[in-house]
Amino acid sequence: MPERRWETGAWVVGLAVNRAGTHAAAALGDGTVRLLDLADPDGGPRALPVHAGACLTVAPDLDDRGFLTGGDDGRLCRIVPGSSGDAAVEPLAEVKGRWIEHVDAEPQAGLRAFAAGRQVTLLDRAGRPACDPLDHPSTVGGLAFAPKGKRLAVAHYGGVSLWWTKAPEAPVLLDWKGSHLGVLWHPAGTHVMTAMQEAELHGWRLKDKAHMRMSGYAAKVRSFAWAARGRWLATAGAEEVVCWPFFGGGPWDKAPLELPGPGSAVITAVAPHPTDPVLAAGRDDGMIFVTPLDGTAPLPLAGRGGSAVSALAWTGNGRSLLAGTEDGRLSWITPAR
C-alpha cells in the first residue's frame, strides 16, 4: 500500500495528526474536515461539516485525541474522534466577522492560542480565556508556542511579539521591517524564525537578538520545519529543498544544503521525518518525494500531475505520510522501509 488517494474536490488547507497518532485530520476549503482513522488501512476519510465557508487551519489539540480548527466563519472548533468511527465537533470560541487563520496548542502549559484579526486569545484546558486578549499592531500572520509553552511568538507587520504566557503584559518585540507571515521556534527555544511576504526568511537568536536573513528563494516560503532535532531548518520556496545549518556557529556564514528533487519545479511543502534523517517534500506540479539529508538520490512517492501540494504531515512514528493538494487530492502514503 504505497499510496491511497481520494479526490475531495476542495483545497486541502492543512493536515494534522493527533498526539496519540490514531487519527489524521485534513482541513478543507469547503469547510469540512476529513478524518482518517490511521488504525484502519481499509477505511476512507470521513467528512465532518465543521465551518461555514472555508476551514483555514488545523492543529493537534492539547490532549491525545483532539484537533483544533479555525474557519472563516470566525469559529474555533475542537474535533474529537470517537471510538466507533464517529466524531464530535465542539465550538470553543467565536469571533464574529473575523477569520480564525492561526491556532496552536501546548500540552505542558495547558494552553491553546488562536488569532482573529490583530488579537490573540489564550484558552485554558477548560476552554476559558486564560487572560485578556493580546493586542498587536496589525493582523497576526502566524503564532507558535515555544517548547513547553512558557512563551508565545506572534508574527505581524514589523516583526514578532514574544509574550510570557503566565503573565502576558508587555511583549518583547523582535523587530524587522516587513510583513511576517509565519513563525517557528527552534526546538531548543533558542531561535525564532519567520517567513516573510517577500520570498525570504528572517530570524533572531534570542540571547543577543542577532538577526539572520535568508533570501534567494524563487517564491514565498510557505512551509518550513526543523529537521534532525533542530540541526537543520528545511524550507520550501525554491526548486531544491533548502536546509540551513543551525550547528557549528551556523547559519551565519554557512551555505545551506540544497537537496534537489527529481526534475525541476518549485517546492511548496516540506515535512522532515520525525525520526530518520530524511525529508518529504511536495511541489507545485503535484509531485511528492523523499530525500535523505546526506544528499543521496531522492525517491518519488507520488508522480507529478494535478495542482500544487498544499499540505504534508508525517505520523509521529514516521510510518505514514499524509499529503494534500490545492485541487483536493488527499493522499495517505506508506513508504517502503
Binding site: 474536490g9 476542495a10 483545497w11 488547507v13 478543507l28 476549503g29 469547503d30 469547510g31 465557508g53 472555508a54 483555514l56 472563516d72 464574529k96 466577522g97 473575523r98 477569520w99 487563520e101 484579526g117 490583530r118 496589525s138 493582523t139 500572520g141 507587520y157 521591517k177 516587513g178 510583513s179 516573510m196 511576504q197 517577500e198 525570504e200 517564491a219 514565498k220 495542482s307 490545492e326
Partner: protein, 319 residues
C-alpha cells in the same frame, strides 16, 4: 485555475459607493461575489460574502516608499481562493478617505494575488455637486479620480447642465483614460461597471485620443494628465531607457500611466501601464483595421513637466 476578476469601488465620503454596491449585489445576475469592506457589517446582504478588513498598508522590503501594498487584501484574497467553488468576482469597497494606489499595486506586486486574480477596474463614484470642491481640498479625492477606469458622475439631478459639463471637463482633464458615466442614485448598467477590463492587458484597451485639455490652466492643480503622441515608430531600447529613468526618478509622483506603443519592427502594438514605479507591459493586442499606428502614452501625476515629457518621448522615435 482562472483568475478571479476584481473591481475596486472608490469615492469620497457620501458620493454613493454603498448605493452602487447595493445596486450591484441586488441585481438578478445570479453571480457570486465576495465583498471586502473596511468595516464588517457596514452593509448587510444575504447570500453574499462580506469580509471585514483592516487598513493595513505596508511598504515592501525593497525600501521604496511608493511601492506600498495592502497586506489585508493579500491575506483575504489568499483565504477566499481556498473556498470551494469559483467566485464570479471580488468587489473591494475602499473607505472614502483611502488612497487607491496601494490597492492597485497589490495586484502587480504580490505573486499569489497576481496569479489568481486580475484587477478588472477601478470605479470611482463622484458627487456632481461637491466633487469640484473636493478636488480642491482633498488629495485623496484627486487620487481617486486619477485612478479611475470608470467615473460614475453621480447625483446629476442636483446640478444644472452647464455645471455638469464643466465638472465633466474638469474630470476629463485630470483623467483622460476614464469612461465617465452620468448617473442618478448610481443607476448605471452593470456592464458599465463590471467586466470592463480596465486594468487588464488582455482586453482591448480603449484610449481616448481626443481628451479635453481646455480649462487646465484655470486650476492651480498639482495633479494633471499629460498625453503624448508620436507618429514615427519608437526604438525599443531608447524607450526603455527613457521610461526606466522616468519611473525611477518620478515614480512617487506618477499616479497612473497607460500607453499603446508602436515599436519599429514589431507587428503588434505594445501596451504599457502602471502605478508609481510598478509597470507592466505586454503585446497581446493587434492593431485594429484602419487604426492609426501612432504611439500614444498618457500619464497622470503630480507636477508633471509636459514639455520635458513630450521631448523625452519624441526622442524615443527610431531614427
Amino acid at each position: 485555475m482562472t483568475a478571479i476578476p476584481v473591481t475596486v469601488l472608490t469615492g469620497y465620503l457620501g458620493a454613493g459607493k454603498t448605493t452602487l454596491l447595493n445596486r450591484i449585489l441586488s441585481e438578478p445576475h445570479g453571480k457570486r461575489y465576495a465583498v471586502i469592506v473596511n468595516e464588517f457589517g457596514e452593509i448587510g446582504i444575504d447570500n453574499d460574502l462580506v469580509v471585514g478588513a483592516d487598513e493595513e498598508v505596508f511598504e515592501m522590503n525593497n525600501g521604496c516608499i511608493c511601492c506600498t501594498v495592502r497586506g489585508d487584501l493579500i491575506r483575504i484574497i489568499g483565504g477566499l481562493i481556498k473556498r470551494k467553488g469559483d467566485l464570479d468576482g471580488i468587489l473591494i469597497e475602499t473607505t472614502g478617505l483611502a488612497d487607491p494606489a496601494p490597492v492597485a499595486q497589490t495586484f502587480f506586486v504580490d505573486p499569489d494575488v497576481a496569479e489568481r486574480t486580475r484587477l478588472d477596474g477601478v470605479v470611482t463614484v463622484v458627487d456632481s455637486r461637491h466633487v469640484t470642491q473636493r478636488l480642491e481640498d482633498s488629495h485623496e479625492a484627486l487620487e481617486q479620480v486619477a485612478f479611475a477606469d470608470v467615473i460614475l458622475l453621480n447625483k446629476t439631478d442636483l446640478v444644472d447642465a452647464g455645471e455638469l459639463a464643466s465638472v465633466e471637463a474638469r474630470l476629463r482633464s485630470l483623467n483622460p483614460f476614464a469612461r465617465i458615466v452620468r448617473t442618478e442614485r448610481c443607476a448605471a448598467p452593470l456592464d458599465a461597471v463590471l467586466g470592463i477590463g480596465g486594468f487588464d492587458l488582455k482586453r482591448v484597451l480603449e484610449m481616448e485620443p481626443d481628451f479635453l485639455t481646455e480649462a487646465d490652466h484655470e486650476h492651480d492643480q498639482s495633479v494633471t494628465s499629460v498625453s503624448l503622441r508620436e507618429e514615427r515608430p519608437l526604438d525599443p531600447v531608447r524607450f526603455d531607457r527613457w521610461f526606466r529613468t522616468l519611473i525611477q526618478t518620478r515614480g512617487t509622483d506618477l499616479l497612473r500611466y497607460k500607453g499603446i506603443l508602436a515599436f519599429s519592427g514589431a507587428s503588434r502594438p505594445t501596451v504599457v501601464q502602471g502605478v508609481h514605479m510598478l509597470a507592466d507591459s505586454g503585446n497581446t493586442l493587434s492593431w485594429r483595421e484602419g487604426q492609426s499606428r501612432a504611439s500614444r502614452f498618457v500619464l497622470i501625476g503630480r507636477d508633471l513637466d509636459a514639455e520635458a515629457l513630450a521631448a523625452g518621448f519624441a526622442a524615443c522615435a527610431a531614427s
